[in-house]
Symmetry: C2
Subunit: 286 residues, 2 copies
């Protein structure tokens, strides 16, 4: 299905963390990402306070902007409010959004049976410089920020540092800027649905395979959680071989986890075995 006509100012459509739009005559490309947050699917009323829910909605969008190396410009928030959510809840929901780095410029409010939120975040990068999923080449090194598995561990344990991490993820905006401007990463995306699934997506977009040798595992998390756990908000990126990558950037540790290979596109090996993508896919698990 051809959604974007040739000659369109839409540089990149569906299939990456953000769409890319090139405004007429502008020095910037604009990035657009949209994320839904549905009660009972993406959050539970019992465990997520209003401000946790608002923050999570915002963080998901900001993380996509970070993954392309962008700076946030504005956001639009639509909210469907059920009877249980009073005006205090709604105010609490919007608090972290209004305090965030992307001015709230519009949205829509409705009542309804289930709390549902949709957020669009717009970011900007200098023209032609957005980090995409499709730029990795065989021989490139694969890196990841932070430690993996913490969000999945937190969701299971519902306490401690891992739970805090699950509830209050930090989008890697400063790191994304560093990857784009200083490291000139060849590809990048955020780990939102689990490393195994997201790395497969990066490989498919780049028409390559990958080999993973090691993983930075969150303290207390299992290898399974690190490989397949979603909602990490860490950045997965590739650089040309022998690029000098610092051990820490923007306050976040960086770990080399493997190499892009010329194997069958989308195939990933982990310590010599095939790594099946078990991350979260809404329409696989439905």
């Amino acid at each position: 299905m051809k959604l974007v006509p040739p000659g369109s100012p839409v540089v990149l459509g569906i299939g990456d963390d953000c769409a890319i739009y090139r405004p007429r005559g502008s020095a910037d490309d604009l990035l657009f990402t949209t994320d839904m947050l549905i009660e009972g699917v993406h959050f539970e009323r019992a465990t997520h306070k209003a401000k946790d829910t608002g923050w999570k909605a915002l963080a998901r969008g900001l993380s996509d902007i970070a993954a392309m190396g962008g700076e946030p410009r504005f956001c639009l928030v639509s909210l469907c409010v059920p009877g249980w959510a009073d005006s205090k809840w709604v105010d609490g929901f919007f608090e972290p959004i209004v305090k965030g780095p992307a001015p709230l410029v519009g949205g829509d409010l409705s009542h309804g049976n289930t709390l549902a939120c949709d957020i669009v975040v717009c970011g900007a990068v200098p023209r032609g410089t957005a980090l995409r999923r499709d730029g990795a080449r065989p021989g490139d090194e694969i890196w990841v920020s932070g430690k993996l598995g913490g969000s999945a561990l937190g969701l299971e344990a519902k306490k401690g540092k891992a739970w805090k991490r699950h509830l209050h993820p930090e989008p890697r905006l400063e790191l994304g800027h560093f990857l784009r401007e200083k490291l000139r990463a060849t590809a990048a995306m955020d780990v939102s649905d689990g490393l195994s699934l997201d790395l497969q997506r990066l490989c498919l977009a780049s028409n390559a395979g990958a080999q993973i040798d090691q993983l930075p595992v969150f303290n207390g998390a299992s290898e399974e959680q690190a490989l397949h756990g979603g909602e990490e908000y860490e950045l997965l990126f590739t650089v040309r071989r022998a690029t000098p990558v610092p051990a820490v950037a923007a306050g976040v540790p960086l770990t080399k986890i493997g190499t892009i290979t010329p194997a069958v596109p989308g195939s990933v090996q982990y310590r010599g075995s095939v790594l099946e993508p078990h991350g979260y896919d809404h329409f696989q698990t439905k």
Copy 2:
């Protein structure tokens, strides 16, 4: 609450049909509007087919772009899909969107209990030329396109031309372009929540009052439906006194309905009496 910092590329935030963003160095301003469509609130599964629902979602957004005189550039669609909606329904929903004038460049899909859709449409106008709600001045003539009350009549009758109009509204994109470029309208908006409420909003934004003398009523609709019925997708606009306005533009009849006055901001008189705003407000009627 100050949402948009001074010096921001956000020219206009919450409160009009669209937000306005000015990309660095661009010849265009970009318009953004977002609209939710919730099962049981904005549409009924029993009466709206999949493609009617998709069209309605798109039409709401396009109508906001039309109201500011914009040309559609792209759209983002998020969809929360309950168990009753199979893949055939989802394909039917997206059909009018993919065929529409705004390429679909991104979105999000989730499962959930209730069908909920959120659409963002981006449009463009030459820099500084967007039609806004706040430009009307006392003495300006008030005009409206088409006939009013048809959508409300259709919703009541569920048959005939009025029902067809309710199910398949036509956003006035070509007319909006004409109002901006040729007529140089001083203010414009679409009649989405009923003339009485929407005109009050235009008057409040423009710090003025209004006096209405006559209305173009849809064949078979009541005066009440024409005054207060929502989902009209017609354009309400103002022009400087004695502007030569054609009887028909872009195939749509235009009717002068009254005059902007220096009365208390937001106060509207209809044939000598106060016109209370009885249009649809989600959080008034909740």
